[in-house]
Amino acid sequence: MEEYPEELRTPPVTLASLVGCPELHPLISTHFLSEQPPINTLALPDFSKISLFNKKRDPDSTATSPSPALGILKRDWLLKHRTKLPSVLAALFPSHHLAADPAHWLQLCSHLDSIKTVIRARNIKFAVVVVVQTNADEISEDRMIALRKRAEVDAKHVVVLNPNDTSELKQTLHRLASTISELAGAFYREEGRRIKQRIEKKNVSSVELIVRYCFKVAVYAEFRSDWTEALKFYEEAYHTLREIVGVTTRLPAVQRLVEIKSISEQLHFKISTLLLHSGKVAEAVMWFRQHRNAYKRLVGAPEGIFLHWEWMSRQFLVFGELLETSSKIIQGISPIILATSSKPLTEWEYYSAYYYQLAAHYLSEKRSALELTISMSETSNEIDNVADSVVPSVYVGQFARLLEQGDKVDMLPLTDEEYIRYAVSEGKRFQDSLEIIVLLKKAYESFNSMKIQRMSSFCGFQMAREYFAEGDISNAKQIFDSIASLYRKEGWVTLLWDVLGYLRECSRKNGTIKDFVEYSLEMAALPISSDTGVRRDTGPAGPANLRQREIVHNEVFELVSGASGLATIEHPSNLKITGDESLQLEVDLVSPLRLVMLASVSFHEQTIKPGASTLITVSLLSHLPLTVEIDRLEIQFNQSKCNFFIANAKKPQSVEVSNGIQHHRTERAPSLSLESNKWLRLTYDIQSDQSGKFECLSVIAKIGSHLTICCRADSPASLDSLPLWTLEGCVQTVPIKDPILVLSGQKSTQVEEPDPQVDLHLGASGPALVGEIFLVPVTLVSRGHDVYKGELKINLVDIKGGGLFSPRDSEPYATDSHHVQLLGISGAEREDDSQLYSDKIKKIQQSFGLISVPILKNGDSWSCKLEIKWHRPKPIMLYVSLGYTTYSNELIEQTVHVHKHLQIEGQTAIVLNHHYLMPFRRDPLLLSKNKQASESDQSESLPLNQKNVLIVSAKNCTELPLRLKSISIEVEDDAEKTCSIQHGGEELSNPSLIVPGEEFKKVFAVSSSMNISKLKLGTVCLRWRRDLGIEEQSAYTSTLSWVVTKQKLPDVNVELPPLIVSFECPPYAIVGDPFTYYIRISNQTQLLQEVKYSLADAQSFVLSGYHNDTVHVLPKSEHILSYKLVPLVSGMQQLPKFSMTSVRYSAAYQPSNSSNSVFVFPSKPQFKASVSTNSRVESVSNEYIL
């Protein structure tokens, strides 16, 4: 695009001319340039220069003249209108010329006359500017009219300008500019119409002139920004031009075509620019396609073909550039255009890169055509002197010979031969390949940035080929490498073959022997079996078939075996392996050389004992077309002691290699020839002494004296990950015959630890009790191994998996947050000598512990105790593991592990219970109790001012006897004294033994006299420990700590009972002996209480008195009901059932059963001693109370 002249590339700008008052010209012209649309100004310093615009004798003007046109477009016509020929002339006159002096006025008039004569011939429009110096300068109306008449201009075309009046200046200038542009528009319109008339009259002598006129009309339209008309006439010109291709005979054939093509190129450029600027991308693309199709076949004479290709290339390049610049402005081409168009455009056609790529393609066509032409015209030597004098002629697309004869310069027409010679010499000057590379690079980068990989690699391939032809090896190699990776990934083998062929040549030229060998091997191993049917021998790779693979194979192996180097006649090569130089190729898991050699290693067992031997199978596979003879294989392991060699028995010299290094085992194999696509399987036994992972790292094959291929070992099981295309054509694809190992064989095995010879014993007795510190003795006894660097790891694990840590309890009490907690480790028995050492590592956490074990010789033992405390009853698993080494040597890290575990139950030792009792045969009416019966609330209520009994019982829930020291109730300190508790803090004099299942009870008396509703009783505190059996009596027991179990008593309600019913009857009765049964109803309130009562009959008694009645009990007094009862039956008998209803509270009330029975003796009992009798009766009655 840059090679086009400026006036063609930019839209035309109106040209106006200024004359007179030269000091104002800069001001006016800068303002005009900033106008929208801008106006260019041609400033003439004084009126004498007007004659510049004088019309010359122009053959063009005589349109009707019969002489045929010499060309289609004049080269400088557009430039003339852009820079020389103004559309408007503005004359500037100072105001005083108008006003004062008649001499001035005369001069002014003469100026006007001369201007008028000049512009009339050219149709140039005229405007007058009167320059006033001050606002005070008044110009008389008469003078102005005179001036207008003289100048023959309208009033609106006379502008008064005052350069000193800053406020008005801008506005005036603007007015001037609009006047000028209006006049210019009129000028261009008239000019356009004038030429259009010539076309319409159809009296034009030749078709060329029609093209010229259309072009002119379009340019005039462009001058006044009428884009549609411009487009219309450009297209008209274009089509007309296309018609005359076969018609005109004005010039010799080749030059004729050149002229037409260059004109159509200009027209096409204009059309494309206009279309793209108006955003019609799809139309522009369609237009370009038409343009290309129209001229594609106009190749022309055979010796001028290269001109055609060059022209085509330029079309693509220019359109690509236009598309690129416009796509920056127009964001995003909508793909919808693709779908709607009837003749669908491919997506490519919207990418500028597509055009660059094709431009490059045509340029390479041009190059080859040019080379052909040059070779044909080799003999003629006079090219240069002809070419010197050939210059572009006045018409676009024409060339002429410049003939200088003294001062006289003459243009002579050329013959076709001369022209071709000229064009060839011009063409030689350009370096096409550089141009091609630039174009392809643009396309390559552009496609790459759009992530269109395949297209970009296509461009890259062409570019790299160009680099290669140019001899720029490093660039070529870099690009070839990057595209080869894509083809490798996608498995386009034949494409890869071509690229690799180039790469091979690159490395041959560079002399990088390693690359050369790698590329050659990869090529030879590519799975190409047969030709696809095309004879393709363009690239250095040669045809892609089996024979060529074999050739490549042989070539590379000759090289590495050091046979001769590659110094053949056609490749004077610098590739040579000399002396002891060696070449090692690495084949890792992603290398393309995996096709060349693939090593699959499989251990036959997944775990082995140290020192025991197992089998290992090494399988090798090569896709090379010919059999490869391997001299020696080396198998490398992660335990380098186990590395071994496999030597080829057929090649005796290759066994001893590196004699300085430690001696490795060497096996001999009868044959190590690696056939094409066939697994070579070798099985050997192997053993390892060191425990841990035992892995085969790599297999190194030595081929010839120089080449080694190091293959990373692969498990047979992981071979599936290979891309499918690399394995095809394989006869057998299994590396091992064993069907199980094929699926599961691994390249590594696990060597087990040696068996431990240390006993680890956990001695725990029975279940643990919540609250106590439970001791687990751990004993280590060495039986054959010395223990060095021993470490004991302790882990507590919840069996149910719930975790020993409950987040709900994770409050500040760190100790309570664990249900089971490892408190510490005590009593390492050889503390005296190992104190220092064992302190070094001692880590105790809530459920994890780590301690170090001192050095133990064979036969020694060591023990310690783990202190574990349960906070909740929970079974746990205790894991203890010992890790040690058997050698004191630091270097050998061979640890042996012993694991033990033990399940320990945690139990709750003692369950506390409590309940309250009212005084015997005395029932208060508790209103809240009645209410709560329906609501089933369990909280207890106690009557106020009564003496209540609290019984606390402790039950042994374990299977072990326990010793109980005390039960006490501790009142919280801060709580106010709300009640009195008797026997609160007493201790048992002798710790009492509770056998499993037994219950221990203690009675407390509780009374409250304070008028509160809630009673806080405090906490029951229990001190206990395990019973030690026989040792119980020893002094040792006194030092034992007691376990304290605490349980808070729930709060109880206290209320004042309105009525209290108490029964009075003798402690016992005798059959047939009557006694009196009193029921005392006492009213505790200040109110009169109405009470309905009833007494049911009882079978065992004969009864006298009211069964039912209603009584009134006076405030703070009591009412006594008395009945006479005669017992009839002996034994424990229920007294007649009494029930009562308080009317005021509408509360029914029944005394409890326990307080309502009496023992009836058959006859009067005989008691020996009154004291004992009393106590007996007391105890009996006591029993019933409980």
Binding site: T346, E347, F458, E490, V534, R535, L724, G729
Partner: protein
């Protein structure tokens, strides 16, 4: 019969599994060598286009000078082989040709699709691997003579 035609079947992961030059004329060698490159480059478009339409025959997707790339995409399908199954993604048939015979190309593609399915039914053929059957090759060339 077309003067130039290069036919290729592309399987999953864009790997070509079958390729054949089915044209009659021995063209200029330079162009012949580029055929595969052109087809490969056209895969870029096919990838985008295949998911936008449900039609199998995508007509001509790319042009290179006089050569046109026509594409036929099979529907993705699942093969059940005894217990396990193999999910086969779309197979792309690509033809680079210079003839304008649209109907013929379509018929050619359909017939080749049928042939391909027959090949798939062969228990010894591993789906996705290269088609090496000479019978398939002969048939494809015969079809090319018939339709192109």
């Amino acid at each position: 019969m077309a003067t130039t035609a290069c036919f290729i079947i592309v399987s999953r992961n864009d790997i070509p599994i079958y390729e054949a030059e089915v044209g009659v004329a021995a063209k200029r060698e330079d162009a012949a060598q580029l055929h595969q490159f052109i087809l490969h480059a056209a895969l870029d478009i096919v990838q985008d286009l295949a998911w936008t339409t449900s039609a199998m025959y995508l007509k001509s997707v790319d042009r290179f000078n006089e050569l046109v790339v026509s594409v036929y995409v099979t529907a993705g399908h699942i093969l059940y082989i005894l217990d396990y199954f193999i999910v086969e993604i779309k197979i792309v048939f690509m033809l680079l040709h210079d003839s304008r015979n649209d109907d013929g190309i379509k018929s050619f593609f359909q017939e080749v699709h049928e042939l391909y399915i027959k090949t798939l039914l062969n228990p010894l053929y591993l789906p996705g691997s290269r088609i090496t059957s000479s019978h398939f090759d002969t048939k494809v060339r015969a079809l090319a003579r018939k339709y192109l």
